[in-house]
């Protein structure tokens, strides 16, 4: 029983911390962000399993986390508001070829991030971007200007 409570608490703590971190923690991970994700995950595991490292205990913890995750996915699908709280909303970084400084500053984005996304989309110059959108999963979608 304590393991299930710890697993549930750990899940929500981890979810909350990752959510209030900037969105890049979930996607486009650099080595810097790998450190955060692995360290936070490792610390939560210690509290979740405690001294009971049996297969039974770990299986129950995994099932509990899986069940919560599935339930949240179901609720997210039903409630757009909860979806926005848990995943955020897409944000337009470049709109009709214009930077949106509020978004860039608010999301602590670097020009290099957008340039990398542009290269992935086959766009070689940042001036050729028509729209750049920071998606909910942390990816940056780039739409080039019509040539």
């Amino acid at each position: 029983m304590p393991t299930i409570i710890h697993a549930v608490a750990g899940y929500f703590i981890l979810l909350f911390i990752v959510r209030v971190l900037k969105r890049r923690a979930g996607s486009q991970m650099t080595l810097f962000e790998f450190v955060i994700v692995f360290l936070i995950g490792g610390v939560i595991i210690l509290s979740t399993v405690g001294n009971d490292r049996s297969v039974t205990n770990c299986t129950c913890a995994v099932i509990a986390v899986g069940l919560i995750h599935r339930s949240l996915a179901w609720v997210k699908a039903k409630s757009p508001t909860l979806g926005a709280i848990l995943d955020g909303t897409p944000l337009v970084i470049i709109r009709a070829g214009e930077w949106q400084p509020e978004i860039v500053k608010g999301m602590k984005l670097r020009r290099e991030d957008i340039e990398a996304a542009a290269r992935s989309a086959g766009v070689t110059r940042i001036e050729d971007i028509d729209y750049a959108i920071l998606e909910r999963n942390g990816r940056i979608s780039v739409l080039p200007k019509d040539s």
Binding site: N51, P90, I103, G106, Y131, I133
Partner: protein, 179 residues
Amino acid sequence: MPSSTPTTPIEDSVPKIDEKIAVGENLEFQRTWWKFERVVWTLFLLILIADVLGVFGRGWLSKGRVSDAAQTLTVDYEHVARASTPSIMTLHFGPNAIHNGHVQLYVSDSIVKPLGAQRISPQPAVSSVGRDGITYTFDATELPASVQIALEPSFPGRHPFKLQVVGGTPVQSSIIVVP
């Protein structure tokens, strides 16, 4: 016979920007979320400062000391402890504690059960149960003399305890165990 599977035409379900791209951006929500984040990170900073100071145990503010009027028994302990985490309770005996080369110490059951006494050092010469607790008898020569009890509370809550040198007045306090 052809099947008549119902079909639904696809259409954008989220607001478009510039009447061009359906993004579903909610800037008002995002502005509120940024404000919320600032509050949360301030709160996190305060939690860390409180933790360093020992508000949640294992720090300066969590150290407690209690003794009886005659200073027969003085107890150093952590009045905020953490579940499943070791902490040490140190009992210092005063001048009137030693009688005929022995110290008799009464320890309430709460020290053993909810506060999870793991070991007592040095080992008592004799242990006897009764009065909702255990009475230990230690061989003792002269002061200073102390005994350490290693605690490892198993569940959160406020757990009162009582200690007494037999013949002296009881020392009572409580330990708050945080998860």
